[in-house]
C-alpha cells in the first residue's frame, strides 16, 4: 500500500462514529426482556464500540438469539 497520511494515522476503527452507541443502546432497549441478550448485550455498552469486535459479538448474539429481528436490524450496519 502506498504510504500516505492515511496509512500513518489510520487506526483500527475501535472508537466508532457517534451513533454507534445510540444504536447499541436502542438494540438493548428493544430486547430488554430477553435475559439471554442482556448477558450478551452488556459488553456492547462497556466496550469501546469497535466495529470489528462488534461484528464478533453481534454474530455470537445472532447465533444465540436468532429470533430477535429487532436486535439484528439495529446491528445490521456492523455486520
Amino acid at each position: 500500500m502506498q504510504r500516505s497520511l492515511y496509512t500513518r494515522l489510520g487506526r483500527p476503527a475501535e472508537s466508532s462514529v457517534p451513533g454507534t452507541r445510540t444504536m447499541i443502546t436502542k438494540a438493548k432497549e428493544t430486547v430488554d426482556n430477553d435475559a439471554e441478550y442482556l448477558s450478551l448485550g452488556e459488553p456492547y455498552l462497556s466496550m469501546p464500540s469497535a466495529p470489528s469486535a462488534l461484528r464478533t459479538e453481534i454474530t455470537r448474539a445472532k447465533e444465540t438469539v436468532d429470533n430477535d429481528q429487532e436486535l439484528f436490524d439495529a446491528s445490521h450496519l456492523f455486520l
Partner: protein
C-alpha cells in the same frame, strides 16, 4: 390515507435499519403520513421504469404532473452495498450504473428534496465549506492544503491533520481503519506522505468547548461538550459520545444557520468549537449527519422538525 394525499406521502432516501431514518419515519407516521423508503439497494430489488421524464419505482409514480412530494436524502446506499468493488471491473460498472440511476431520479423535479442532491454533493466538500463560511466573515481555522512540505513548515510548526476524503478505509479486507483529526508536528511529516493524498492541515485552536449544531431550515439546536481533558477529536473518547448537554448559544445558532444557508443545505450537522477566548470557530458541516447521540430532548426536536417539513407541517 388515500387519493391525492397518499401521493403526497414523503420520501426518504435511506434504509429502515438506519435509526435516524427509523426515527423520522415514526415521527411522520405520528403525523398521519406513511413514508416511502428508497435507496440504491432497494432500486435493485424493486421494479422500476423511467420513461421520458416520468418514473415508476416499485409501483409508485413520480411525475412532475403529480402533487409535489417532499423528500430527505439521508444515505444513497447501505454501508455494505456492493463494497469492495475494484475499479474498472464489471462489478464496478454495474455499481456505477445503479448509482447513476438513483442520481437521475434524485435530480428529477418530482420530489422537493430538503436539500437538493447537487447541493448536498457540493456541500460535502470541506474546502467548499471553509470557503463559504470564511466569506461570511466567520472564523475558520487557518487551513493549508499542499504537497509541498517546505511550504507547510514555513507556515506551521504544528497542525491538526484531517482527511479531505473519506475518514475510513479498508487497509485489508478485515481491517477497517479510521482517521481522526490528529495533532502533528510538521517536522515529523514526510514529503511522500503529504504528496500521496491531500489532507486538510489546520492551525490548532485550543478548545474550551466542543459544539454540535443541527440545523433544519432556519432553526438550529445546539449541544456542548466540555473540552477539558478531551483529545483534539472528541470522537476518539467514547464516553464523550454521550456527554453532550443542551447549550444556549445564540451566536452559534445564527452563525450555523447562515453557514447552512450559504451552502444551500436545509439540514446540517455542524461541528464548532468555542476557543479559550470565547470565540466560536467553524470546523465542518455534514449535510447528512447524525443527531440521535445528542440529548433526548434535543434529538427529538430535530426529528420532529424533519418530520414537520416532510409532511408539510412547516
Amino acid at each position: 390515507m388515500t387519493g391525492e394525499w397518499a401521493r403526497r406521502n414523503p420520501v426518504i432516501v435511506g434504509e429502515r435499519q438506519d435509526l435516524h431514518v427509523e426515527a423520522v419515519v415514526e415521527a411522520c407516521r405520528h403525523r398521519g403520513f406513511d413514508v416511502s423508503l428508497v435507496d440504491v439497494s432497494t432500486l435493485e430489488d424493486r421494479s422500476f421504469t423511467y420513461l421520458d421524464g416520468e418514473w415508476l419505482i416499485g409501483g409508485e409514480a413520480f411525475s412532475e404532473d403529480q402533487p409535489v412530494r417532499r423528500g430527505w436524502i439521508r444515505r444513497l446506499a447501505p454501508p455494505t452495498w456492493r463494497t469492495g468493488t475494484q475499479a474498472e471491473t464489471h462489478e464496478a460498472v454495474v455499481r456505477t450504473s445503479w448509482l447513476a440511476l438513483l442520481a437521475g431520479w434524485l435530480s428529477s423535479p418530482s420530489v422537493q428534496w430538503l436539500t437538493a442532491f447537487r447541493r448536498l454533493l457540493a456541500a460535502e466538500n470541506k474546502i467548499v465549506q471553509l470557503d463559504a463560511v470564511r466569506r461570511l466573515g466567520m472564523r475558520v481555522p487557518h487551513t493549508v492544503l499542499t504537497n509541498d512540505l517546505n511550504e507547510l513548515i514555513d507556515s506551521f510548526d504544528e497542525v491538526i491533520v484531517k482527511p479531505l476524503g473519506p475518514s475510513q478505509f479498508l487497509a485489508s479486507p478485515e481491517d477497517m481503519r479510521v482517521v481522526y483529526a490528529t495533532r502533528m508536528s510538521t517536522a515529523d511529516m514526510a514529503s511522500d506522505e503529504l504528496a500521496s493524498a491531500p489532507f486538510l492541515l489546520q492551525e490548532r485552536i485550543a478548545a474550551c468547548r466542543h459544539v454540535r449544531v443541527v440545523t433544519v431550515g432556519g432553526s438550529a439546536w445546539v449541544a456542548g461538550l466540555d473540552a477539558a481533558d478531551l483529545p483534539d477529536d472528541w470522537r476518539v473518547h467514547v464516553p464523550a459520545h454521550s456527554s453532550f448537554v443542551p447549550a444556549e448559544c445564540e451566536e452559534v445558532v445564527q452563525a450555523a444557520v447562515r453557514a447552512a444557508t450559504a451552502l444551500d443545505v436545509h439540514f446540517s450537522s455542524q461541528d464548532w468549537i468555542v476557543d479559550t477566548a470565547g470565540e466560536s470557530v467553524f470546523l465542518d458541516l455534514n449535510p447528512a449527519g447524525q443527531w440521535l447521540f445528542l440529548p433526548d430532548e434535543l434529538a427529538q426536536s430535530v426529528t420532529g422538525a424533519l418530520a414537520d417539513w416532510l409532511t408539510g407541517s412547516r
